[in-house]
């Protein structure tokens, strides 16, 4: 009788072991099968880079509020939005950055510049993990004449296929 009971227990024991193992295997596969999502870090770095490109120690850098800056924004800020030729990314840009200068007193826009795929901007209004990551930061700066500005930087990184599953 006891022996029968022992055998029954070992069958259950293996059944439990199998269920636990299956659970662990599923969780590990789910965790390591998902790609690392670094888009937020990328957007943060992009924002910091643009901020450093237009302002230093609280003062706007020379030539920022000019047509030349708007036209050569990417070159002046040393950014290159070329991406790998995968998932049709070359045809559809994966980055967008926009910088906006508002008069600190009136809140009116006095200057703006942008680079990248502006088609990504409407996605920032939506919610969902397969959408681009948008980060908006603001800071205060003054120019050499003492004019005060609020500078808004919007950075968007898409690259969904390599960061979200």
């Amino acid at each position: 009788m006891n022996k029968k009971g022992d055998k029954l227990i070992s069958v259950y024991w293996f059944a439990i072991l199998f269920i636990v193992a299956a659970g662990i295997v599923y969780m590990v596969s789910a965790f390591y099968g998902k790609p690392y999502d670094i888009r937020e870090a990328e957007a943060d770095i992009l924002t910091t880079k643009i901020a450093g490109c237009i302002s230093e120690a609280g003062y706007l850098k020379e030539g920022v509020l000019t047509e030349n800056f708007r036209e050569n924004f990417a070159e002046i800020c040393t950014i290159n939005f070329q991406v790998e030729d995968a998932y049709g990314w070359r045809d559809r840009g994966q980055y967008y950055v926009e910088v906006e200068f508002l008069d600190f007193g009136t809140g009116q826009q006095v200057f703006e510049a942008s680079e990248g795929n502006s088609g990504l901007k409407p996605d920032c209004e939506l919610e969902g993990k397969t959408l681009p990551v948008c980060i908006e930061r603001s800071f205060y700066s003054i120019d050499e004449n003492g004019n005060q500005y609020q500078v808004n930087i919007l950075s968007i990184v898409r690259k969904t296929e390599k960061n979200v599953q």
């Binding site: 295997v25 690392y36 990328e42 070159e75 040393t78």
Partner: protein, 143 residues
């Protein structure tokens, strides 16, 4: 001469011991397979390729000319050596695309947006024990 009752008792004891040993061995085999699976998943070449490609792309995006970055890639290097990949081909850069390749039929690429000229090479300060890669940010491309 031993009595039949004593013989029966001895056989029963022998059976119980054998069954217990088989049970313990099966448990150990089961757990070992599970541990091997977990370790293989955690240190899988594909996972390391993705991790290092993204890590390097982020570091370059955030770096400035004049910086030299030493990145510990010991696990990845060991896998690459086992797979027979030349250490110069483990981390490569084409335009602004970083590729980490640890297997013959593998590799993971990720782009960075900082328009800089860089050099990436294995740190051969100790040639017999290479564990790091050096990423040198030379200067901005438009300078």
């Amino acid at each position: 001469m031993r009595s039949p009752a004593k013989n029966k008792l001895k056989n029963k004891r022998g059976n119980i011991l054998t069954e217990n040993i088989i049970f313990i061995i099966l448990n150990l085999v089961f757990l070992s397979i599970l541990i091997v699976f977990l370790v293989s998943r955690m240190g899988a070449a594909a996972v390391l390729e993705e991790m290092h490609a993204k890590q390097i792309a982020l570091m370059i995006s955030a770096a400035e000319p004049g910086m030299t970055i030493h990145l510990d890639m010991e696990k990845a290097i060991n896998i690459a050596k086992k797979e027979g990949i030349n250490l110069d081909d483990v981390v490569t850069r084409k335009d602004n695309l970083i590729t980490v390749k640890l297997r013959e039929k593998g590799g993971y690429s990720y782009s960075f947006f900082n328009d800089v000229d860089i050099s990436i090479y294995p740190d051969t300060t100790h040639p017999e024990d290479v564990t790091d890669y050096v990423i040198k940010i030379n200067n901005y491309k438009n300078e």
